[in-house]
Amino acid sequence: MTNTAVVVSIEVAADPDLAFDVFTSEIDAWWLRGPQHRFRAPWDGKLRFEPGPTGRLLEEYADGSAFVIGRVVHWERGKRLVLGWRIPNFKGDESTEVDVRFEAIAGGTRVSVEHRGWNALRADHPARHGKAGRDFEYMKADLWAQNLTSLRRRFEHNPPASAGSLAR
């Protein structure tokens, strides 16, 4: 498969099934907070996956409303998760796609994220923050890197029972 975006990956100290479970069911705990990472002001919504192949990723608010980030396209525990990805300034049918892969490695799992489809957005789209090409790709990659680093830390500081050990 040829990637069309910068892929951000990280090693976590858990087997692929557990990495997948924590990625999905605990996303609100490891996904970073604040306006850079959350979707709607005042940035106090909770992220939640409706699990399974017909599920969605939502940000839910105290007043009962929710923002739908995307619908699941592919749900394969321990292997691959694909979902649509919209942010609140997207219009109409504008969307991107997030493809997450879970690959067993010595001592754990490599979690890789390809977030593609930004090229379809117009050049002056607010989501671009005035950036294009590789500058834009790396800006998006930095945000994923920060969140995946947080996911990795979740296994370092609070290792689940079935996690392997990457630590020496």
Binding site: T4, V6, V8, S9, I10, Y138, L166, A167
Partner: protein, 147 residues
């Protein structure tokens, strides 16, 4: 606390280099890896016994070049390990060139120098003795003035 100084090295074949540093030095991949379309690694981070190193593939368009392309390196990475001889043997078996075999140095270090398969030079050292300035001067005689 992490050190404020982190070597950021350039290699041809960053993915293979990370595997080499894992296998030979027991490195772990401690941070996020950025892989561009086409496979070029824009950034990666490893940690060897708690010491951080950043690395990437070559980016000729911004003059980020590897020792292979430059024809050598002016820098040596000094790495302290528990058993220098064993580490150097592992490095040699994995394709490194031994430039100076491991031997006891007058300053109390057992060390040797290798050039890894990506052109970076490492001094692999195990301290075995505290040597005072006077004792070091006695050992090196007139070859060096220790100050």
């Amino acid at each position: 606390m992490p050190s404020p100084l982190v070597p950021y090295i350039t290699v041809k074949g960053a993915a293979r280099a990370i595997d080499f540093y894992k296998n030979v030095f027991g490195a772990i991949e401690s941070g996020a890896r950025y892989t561009e379309p086409g496979g070029r690694i824009g950034h990666a981070e490893i940690s060897i016994d708690g010491a951080q190193i950043m690395l990437s593939d070559e980016h000729p368009e911004i003059d980020v070049l590897s020792p292979d392309t430059l024809g050598g390196t002016p820098m040596t990475l000094h790495l302290q390990v528990r058993d220098a001889a064993a580490t150097v043997a592992r490095a040699a078996a994995a394709g490194a060139t031994v430039q100076r075999a491991v031997q006891d140095q007058p300053y109390g270090e057992r060390s040797g120098t290798i050039k890894d398969p990506f052109g970076h030079r490492w001094m692999i050292a195990t301290p075995f003795e505290d040597v005072s300035k006077d004792e070091l001067q006695r050992r090196v005689g007139s070859a060096y003035k220790i100050s």
